[in-house]
């Protein structure tokens, strides 16, 4: 199907047109004072219902998505989002309930959320779970805030330094700053493990904690994690687990057992809630024993009359409320359905098959002549291939490969993250992809390598088959066009 550009919806508008069947009858508003009224109508489109349906349906067809394309974006876990999760989370009674409705008229929902808390306890090894953070980044904020609150409660508010490996995701140091902490980066060794000597030198009386993910952002397991935990704990600090890569170890290893004191999960990664073009996510947090009192509210508890919300008055040491209501409840219901459908055996298979697929694809790409960043290591659920040789010898970059992959109907892997590895592709196939899917990707990469050697300009000017060619993002940032305006 030839993709067609779609006009901006305001360009479809005609004065007087509208989806009249959706509007209530006209009503007079005599009690609204004249001086408070709006004088000019807002710029919303005047279009028919069919115009709207056609416009947004056609726009959707310009997207790559898991439902339509292989999407091996490293550290994003683009696994199949089961339709059942959406269907049951959107049952009309769940959708219709007001957040402030009585708990007696919410026992169905609260039961699902309570059981979700319990299942997440089991897979993480953390005794306490809070579901309210609305995204991974908010979960991170909650975790670091809890660490700060813990130290403050023990008279050690001077502990304001967070250690972060140099390969960390940008949210980690940003979160530390948001909590009024300074960041101390430590190097990672040649094999991808955190440098233990550097860690020993970095900890001290100012250490609040360390933020780690395991497997790390380099796609490899942090083999010294038990020693790392011992070093940080001995210095009086705590360990924070960034759960972005939980898919690699789901059902195989638990963060609580590795010595972590607090963690966040990305339900929109590991637990298959929809990415939705950028959100909404959910960043549930887990806490070990000493951090339990500080979990954000509200949390689902059990009372004599059934399930109830525990809030500030029930949990006086909580770091507080992070959202107006209870967090992204609809997202949490989808995660609940997913976990119930997988059950204890299915959750184990996630870690196993995600790792199998990553190692298989790594082996195929290696055989095709590509350079893994850590050739001596096993892949976790993802791995890094570096194209620095291609960049140097052929003047074809990771960005060029990424754009050319789009022409093959494959979404590019994550590019240029982690910053530590030059010209990198971070590739995460996930467990829901078939062997054929992986073979197709390896073959496309081999084909692009041949093109890079024989007709490099074709790769450098990719993509060729998308609805737009490569976009000028310098112009986008210099000549800001952020809202549509009617031309004069």
């Amino acid at each position: 199907m030839q993709l067609q550009r779609e006009k901006v919806i305001f360009e479809h508008a005609r004065p007087g047109r509208g989806a009249h069947d959706q509007w209530p009858a006209e009503t007079a508003t005599p009690e609204l004072p004249q001086e408070m009224r709006r004088t000019r109508a807002p710029l919303l489109p005047e279009v028919s219902e069919l115009d709207v349906v056609r416009h947004f349906t056609r726009l959707s067809q310009l997207n790559f998505s898991i439902d339509t394309h292989f999407y091996p974006l490293g550290s994003c876990t683009m696994k199949y989002n089961p339709k059942a999760c959406n269907a049951y989370a959107m049952l009309p009674q769940f959708l219709a309930r007001h957040p402030l409705a009585p708990e007696s008229q919410g026992q169905g929902l609260l039961g699902c959320l309570y059981e979700l808390q319990e299942m997440l306890r089991a897979v993480t090894g953390m005794p306490g779970i809070a579901l309210s953070p609305m995204a991974g980044a908010q979960g991170e904020f909650a975790g670091v805030a809890m660490i700060r609150a813990y130290h403050a409660s023990r008279g050690e508010a001077a502990r304001d330094e967070i250690i972060v490996p140099e390969a960390a995701h940008g949210t980690n140091p940003a979160t530390a700053s948001m909590c009024g902490c300074t960041v101390r980066e430590i190097p990672v060794g040649a094999e991808g493990d955190v440098d233990l000597e550097a860690l020993r030198a970095a900890v001290g009386p100012r250490t609040a904690g360390i933020m780690l993910t395991n497997p790390s952002t380099l796609g490899v397991f942090e083999r010294n994690i038990v020693e790392v935990a011992a070093v940080v704990h001995a210095a009086g600090g705590l360990l924070y687990y960034d759960g972005a890569n939980l898919n690699a170890i789901l059902g195989k290893v638990r963060p609580g057992d590795m010595g972590f004191d607090v963690m966040h999960m990305n339900l929109h990664k590991t637990f298959s809630t929809p990415h939705g073009g950028g959100g909404p996510g959910a960043g549930a947090v887990g806490a070990a024993e000493r951090l339990l009192p500080f979990l954000p509210v509200p949390i689902v508890g059990q009372g004599p009359g059934g399930y109830r919300w525990l809030s500030e008055s029930d949990r006086p040491q909580s770091i507080g409320r992070l959202s107006a209501f209870m967090g992204n409840t609809g997202v949490l219901l989808r995660a609940y359905v997913y976990m119930r459908m997988l059950g204890r055996e299915g959750l184990r298979q996630v870690g196993e098959y995600a790792t199998l697929n990553a190692n298989y694809l790594l082996a195929r790409l290696r055989a095709a002549g590509f350079d893994p960043a850590y050739p001596g290591r096993r892949a976790s659920h993802e791995f890094i291939v570096t194209l620095k040789r291609q960049a140097r010898e052929l003047d074809v970059t990771a960005m060029d490969f990424a754009k050319r992959l789009l022409d093959f109907g494959l979404h590019a892997p994550t590019t240029y993250f982690p910053l530590l590895v030059p010209e990198c592709l971070l590739i995460e196939p996930t467990e829901t992809e078939s062997k054929e899917s992986l073979d197709g990707f390896a073959e496309a990469m081999a084909q692009i390598q041949r093109e890079a050697e024989q007709e490099p300009e074709h790769v450098r000017s990719a993509p060729h088959n998308m609805v737009v060619r490569r976009l000028d993002d310098v112009r986008a940032a210099r000549e800001l066009d952020l809202t549509w305006r009617p031309s004069a």
Partner: protein, 130 residues
């Protein structure tokens, strides 16, 4: 290889200084720095009259891929700011040592930060590239 005028002084954080006839110092970021950043899209400059300490971050240069702080190589007061950068941040890419100047500073007495010769700066860039 990036351009490194021999009559200027340099810092480890890729800024340059030019001594002006009236005793003031003109500063900016180097050719190497602008190459690393890529096409600049925005420059945030301070106001004239602001006092600076050695090593203080006083401006931000923003490209599509990075936003970098610019540090003062000396203590002093900002006497002039390059207003042309507001509409044309690309001047820094095109002419980093000339039209891409950032600010002029009247130096305070006391030690300046660590400054390098052109040769030393050239060696620094090579070492960083390893």
């Amino acid at each position: 290889m990036s351009h490194i005028p021999s009559d200027l002084k340099y810092t480890k954080t890729h800024e340059w200084l030019r001594q002006l006839p009236d005793g003031q110092l003109e500063v900016g970021i180097t050719d190497h720095a602008q190459e690393q950043l890529g096409d600049l899209v925005f420059v945030e400059v301070p106001e004239a009259g602001r006092t600076l300490a050695v090593g203080e971050a006083y401006a931000v240069v923003e490209s599509v891929k990075a936003a970098s702080d610019v540090y003062s190589p000396l203590a002093g007061v900002i006497t002039a700011v390059n207003g042309a950068l507001k509409d044309s941040p690309e001047l820094i890419n095109q002419d980093p040592f000339g039209q891409g100047w950032l600010v002029r500073i009247k130096p305070a007495s006391g030690a300046a930060g660590e400054l390098m010769s052109a040769d030393d700066y050239a060696r620094l860039i090579v070492a960083e590239g390893e």
